[in-house]
Symmetry: C2
Subunit: 411 residues, 2 copies
């Protein structure tokens, strides 16, 4: 039984993680939050207090931390006695936080792949460039490290694992992520603009016919008719989970589709073509060195400010096609989340909510031993039922559309 | 008779000014070029040498100068013995260069209004905020200062003055500026992006029914059928010349229309709505203070690099409507310039060419005394015929469309 949580990061997703950890602190124990900007941790704590989210009385503390600094991160893990670290900080700190866990024995959970600030869209499989290189070290140290335990990657990987029960043979998994909500701004990204745009500036990798295929962003468009949110336009996008699912599922076609409105595409196209999404510094006429993408981030709305006005719903799920008992079959396993409901419960919008609840469910499964596997694992390598069962209770109900039926997934 | 020219600035327009001054150095005397970056002056000199543009042997020298520094500017005027200063530097240096001329007695010529780097789109009339405040000082010192002597403002002001000959009463002057050329890039501005975008980020001021009217940029659209370039889409835009013509012409309606393609409008709209055209600094997540507009400038193509690939033509002119002998009349006085011809002659594209030839014509008219008025003047306050006559010979032929006739304007 592992206890005491250290949450790294203090953005929109961290806000959800802290609230959900607080709601389960009878099991999880002490809760610590660490960020470069400690004031942001204090804001989250104030929000937890305001919502009276702590299930039982207990420790809830803020810490200043540069999570790129392994010595400092190890010292904080040791000082707090945290046995589980949930890393929802910037995508640049995965490797230093993971290393700190390996050296202290704490379990590690993250929700997105590691990125090098100076490299965009490395060669597939992305996990192979960084995380998986530490798999042996994790196993040797007996450290549990669960990679990509947000919604996508995360829950959609569990959907993929679960879908095996419905098929004799799976031909394709199409992961579809549609935000049909509205924030009411002319333009905003739903999470850190720097990370958001970086997702789409490189090549689009997909797994087709058992090999990597490449496309340009916004090159391949697909309409879907989805539960609740209805007809939705999506574009084929590179995404973390394709990189682990292609290795672990033995399925010949795995693709990711993200919903985009015309406004997003216009803004993205202009910024990208002008060079304003570049992570490489440019020099102004006055001689100042500046990274354009960081300036774009600075002028855009802070995603955490969008929550109060956000309305509408998200729909994220796996459309799985294959054969069962000699007949073609198609199922869609999915969740629909509501922005307003998320805000009312934890003060965040729905995108942060779907990303922030799952790592707390993963932490609970490490705490109770079910997922405390003492090695590195992507979510599809772990039993999906207890994870999805917990999420049903934690605010992310799962459903399955199978032929003409559409019903709750109950475990 | 004034002689010896100091040209301030070393951008695309300065390149044209230096070439044209070199072609007339028998009259203008020594030619000096000054810029913060002296290497750019040397590049222009190399281009003049390559084209063998100097009419007679003579002085052609480069100088490093911060034109915001009045003492340094005065010292350079004195050292070079320049009696005429052509200011085609950044829009931020007008007042310091003008002051240097007032204190040294040199004649002053510029091609655009002064701007405060931190203010965009001040209250009309724009000249009233800066230049005209020095009118009395010019007159007292007997200093000739010709404001806005490029094409627009400049030649179009002379067209307006000339149009008086064709009417008993003028009802409206619509200045139309269409660049029907193509630079072959995804996006680029034809001159300094910082100045270009600043022109359009504020309110659009126009002179209608004898008072200032305001609109938003891209709010008022107008199609015209123009000579040579044909059907052209323009938008009502604020522009320098409206501010002096409204005061000096006694015409109830004076508007400026600039041609824009869909691409320009899309890029401008995205950048403006995101806040990337702001001249006010923002702070990045890393704490760096940056002016977004300067970063946009840094990522865009340097306008001076567009010239070699530029093809097509520009058409700029005044559509004047009024009454002559009791009957309604409409004339269009205009110039058509060719990007390729400009490049072949002086190594610049057509936009720089149309802006850079007129101030040299103005310098010749100061040199020969016709425009050496020993006070401050906008172009419409000076006799237009000698100016337009010189331009006919200097590569900017003027034409008039009047009813069914379309012929060269000859003086």
């Amino acid at each position: 039984m592992k206890r005491n949580i250290l949450i790294i990061g203090a953005g929109g997703v961290a806000q959800v993680v802290v609230h959900k950890a607080a709601q389960n602190n009878d099991v999880l124990g002490d809760i610590h939050i660490a960020s470069r900007t400690v004031a942001k941790c204090h804001e989250i704590i104030a929000s937890v207090r305001e919502k009276k989210a702590m299930k039982v009385e207990g420790v809830l503390e803020a810490h200043a931390l540069d999570a790129m600094d392994i010595a400092a991160t190890k010292a904080l893990i040791e000082k707090t006695g945290a046995q589980i670290v949930i890393n929802v900080g910037s995508a640049f700190v995965n490797m230093s936080v993971l290393q700190s866990c390996i050296e202290t024995g704490a379990a590690y959970i993250d929700t997105a792949i590691h990125e090098d600030p100076l490299k965009i869209c490395e060669t597939p499989p992305w996990y192979g460039n960084y995380e998986w290189k530490r798999a042996e070290a994790c196993e040797k140290a007996g450290v549990t490290a669960i990679l990509g335990a947000g919604f996508d990657p995360g829950v959609v990987n569990a959907y993929a694992a679960l879908s095996r029960n419905y098929f004799d043979e799976i031909h394709s998994i199409d992961i579809i992520d549609v935000n049909a909500g509205s924030h009411g701004r002319w333009f905003a990204t739903n999470f850190d603009p720097e990370i958001n745009f970086r997702e789409f500036t490189g090549q689009v990798y997909s797994w087709q016919n058992n090999e990597w295929a490449t496309n340009q962003m916004f090159e391949v468009r697909q309409e879907w008719d989805l539960p609740v949110v209805g007809k939705s336009t999506t574009y084929m996008t590179g995404h973390d989970e394709i990189h682990s699912l292609s290795k672990n599922m033995g399925v010949p076609n795995i693709r990711f589709w993200m919903g985009f409105g015309e406004r997003y595409i216009t803004v993205f196209t202009v910024l990208k073509n002008l060079g304003l999404l570049s992570e490489q510094p440019v020099k102004t006429a006055e001689g100042q060195e500046v990274v354009p993408l960081k300036v774009v981030k600075a002028v855009l709305p802070d995603p955490s400010t969008l929550a109060p006005d956000y309305t509408g719903k998200t729909c994220i799920g796996d459309l799985v096609k294959g054969v069962k008992d000699g007949k073609p079959r198609e199922i869609f396993i999915y969740n629909v989340a509501d922005h307003k409901d998320a805000y009312n419960e934890v003060g965040s919008q729905g995108i942060s909510y779907t990303a922030g609840v799952p790592p707390v469910a993963a932490a609970l499964l490490i705490a109770n031993g079910l997922w405390d596997v003492k090695k590195m694992a992507n979510v599809e390598e772990l039993p999906p039922e207890p994870f999805l069962g917990l999420l049903n209770e934690m605010g992310l109900p799962n459903r399955i559309r199978d032929g003409d039926t559409d019903e709750a997934l109950v475990f």
